[in-house]
Symmetry: C2
Subunit: 136 residues, 2 copies
DNA sequence: CCTAGAATGATGACATGTCAACGACTTCGC
DNA sequence: GCGAAGTCGTTGACATGTCATCATTCTAGG
C-alpha cells in the first residue's frame, strides 16, 4: 500500500528530474538559514544517518544540486549549501510533487480515513510526525 | 509506519540468517511441486521482475539456499530448485518469522483496525491481496 | 598545555533494486 | 520448413542504503 503510493509519487517526481531522496534533502535544506547546514545537523533533521546523507550529498553534488564547503566553525565538519540549480530544481518540482501527493494520497482519503490511519500507525509503533493537523 | 514494522521483522529474520527477500523466495518456492519452478513463473508468482529474481537467485545460490538447473522443457529457461540447506533455513526461520509478524503487526491490531487498514489500502489503489480472511 | 575520548564525515564492502540492452531460444504465420 | 517476432534469463551501469572503520578534529579533565 505504501509501496503503491510511493511508486507513483516517485515516478511523478522523476519527471521533474528529482528522486524522492533528492526532494527530501532539497526541501529540508531550503528551510535552513542561508539554505546551508552542517551535514550532521541536516542528517539529524531528516532522520538520516550521516553515512546516508554523505553518500547522497556526493551524488547530488555531482549533479550540481548542492555544494560542500568546509565548516569554518568545525574543522571536522562540512557545510551543505543549496546551489542556484538546486533551488531552481526544487522550485520546479514542488508544485508537481504537492499535486502528486494530493492526488495519490490526500484526495483519496477523508477525515475518518486519516484518523484511522494515524491510530493504526500509532498502534504499530510508528514514530513519524506525519504533520497531523487533525488533533487541533 | 510500514517502515517501522518492516525494520523490526527484518531484524528478527536476520537473526535466523535470512533476509526478507530470501524468505519470500524460499517460502514461495517450497510450495511448488518438487520445490522447483522456472524463474519467470516464480517471479510472476512473487510479483517480482525477472531481473530482480535472477539477481537475488544468484546471491542465494552462492549461499547454497537454492540451485539453478537447466529447464528441460525450454532451452531459454532455468529451474530454481530448493536445496536441503534452503529448506532447513526456511524451516528454522518460519516459526520465528510468524511470531515476529504476529507480535509486531497482527497482535497490535484488532478486527476494526484490520478492516480500516484494508479499506484505506483499497482507496489508495493497493493491489496486493494481503490474505484477507475477514470478508468471508 | 596535553592527552584520552568523543564526534564528524568519508569510504570500502556489500545488499538490494531498476532499466535497458543482449544472446539464446521458441513460436507464430506463412 | 523458415524467418520475424516474442520470450527467457543475464548482465552492465546505476541508484540507493547499511554497517564498520578510519583519519581528522574537537573537547573535557587533569
Amino acid at each position: 500500500m505504501t509501496t503503491s503510493v510511493r511508486a507513483g509519487t516517485a515516478r511523478d517526481l522523476a519527471d521533474t528530474g528529482l528522486s524522492e531522496p533528492d526532494y527530501e534533502v532539497l526541501s529540508t535544506l531550503v528551510e535552513r538559514p542561508g539554505t546551508t547546514s552542517t551535514l550532521h545537523e541536516q542528517a539529524a533533521k531528516m532522520g538520516w544517518s550521516r553515512s546516508r546523507l554523505s553518500r547522497h550529498s556526493s551524488r547530488m553534488e555531482v549533479r550540481g544540486l548542492i555544494a560542500r564547503a568546509p565548516d569554518p566553525a568545525d574543522g571536522r565538519g562540512c557545510l551543505l549549501v543549496l546551489t542556484a540549480a538546486g533551488r531552481e530544481a526544487l522550485r520546479a518540482a514542488t508544485p508537481t510533487h504537492l499535486e502528486s501527493v494530493r492526488r495519490r494520497f490526500a484526495d483519496r482519503l477523508d477525515a475518518d480515513d486519516l484518523r484511522d490511519l494515524l491510530r493504526i500507525a500509532d498502534k504499530l509503533g510508528d514514530r513519524s510526525e506525519e504533520a497531523a493537523p487533525l488533533d487541533g
